[in-house]
Symmetry: C2
Subunit: 128 residues, 2 copies
């Protein structure tokens, strides 16, 4: 029953990189990792569950912030070692900085990073 | 002059994961890795240069297929350890299977992967 999980080329730590994309706008919102359990739970619940490498535990996205991610489509790449989730982002905020997307630093003039997207909600308000 | 490169949290192999997104459609096309030299070259040339982990060498995307990627925007995430390229995909084909995107395997009914996107060009025609 877990053939679809066995089809994935998990890395030496048993993880796979995951890209979360807004299903409506197409914006790339964040990047994280999953282990088998995280991906199985994501499918079961229909909400993104990642593996936090720093905390070494499962991380139900939005468990603190309320910014859960409803999964609309799950894709696997040609090498079967990267997952793409197309999601509906609750609250419109995926980033812990209170921005819509984690990819807010833009390279300008090929030599500096500029925070190019606005903070929608103060993180102190999100994680209280 | 390479402060912007030092700002990146390179992993223990000196690499950073890179997501390539179609700048026009928003489609996620592929996922690869870069080292410092690859990212510096990408900025210098305005075309994506990756680090091939399997071949252990720089890989100017499209060097064999002609399917180069013109870089329109470079983003770095909140943790400074993932890069997002917004690109213009020459030939409209990013995948070595001849498909537009590498993420063509779709999870159906939560238990099987189905190749959901068409092959645009026969790989034998691309890599001859």
């Amino acid at each position: 029953m877990s053939d679809w999980l066995d089809a994935i080329s998990w890395d030496e730590q048993g993880l796979v990189p995951v890209i979360a994309q807004d299903a409506a706008s197409g914006d790339v919102l964040m990047f994280a990792w999953m282990n088998r359990e995280a991906l199985a739970l994501t499918v079961e619940r229909g909400e993104a569950v990642y593996w936090s490498r720093s905390r070494r535990k499962l991380w139900h996205k939005g468990e603190e912030s309320g910014h859960t991610q409803k999964v609309r489509d799950i894709r696997l790449d040609c090498d079967k070692d990267v997952v793409l989730l197309r999601i509906e982002q609750t609250g419109g905020i995926a980033c812990h900085t209170g921005r819509r997307s984690c990819f807010f630093n833009q390279l300008r003039d090929g030599d500096r990073w500029v925070a190019a997207d606005p903070v929608i909600k103060n993180p102190a308000e999100i994680y209280k």
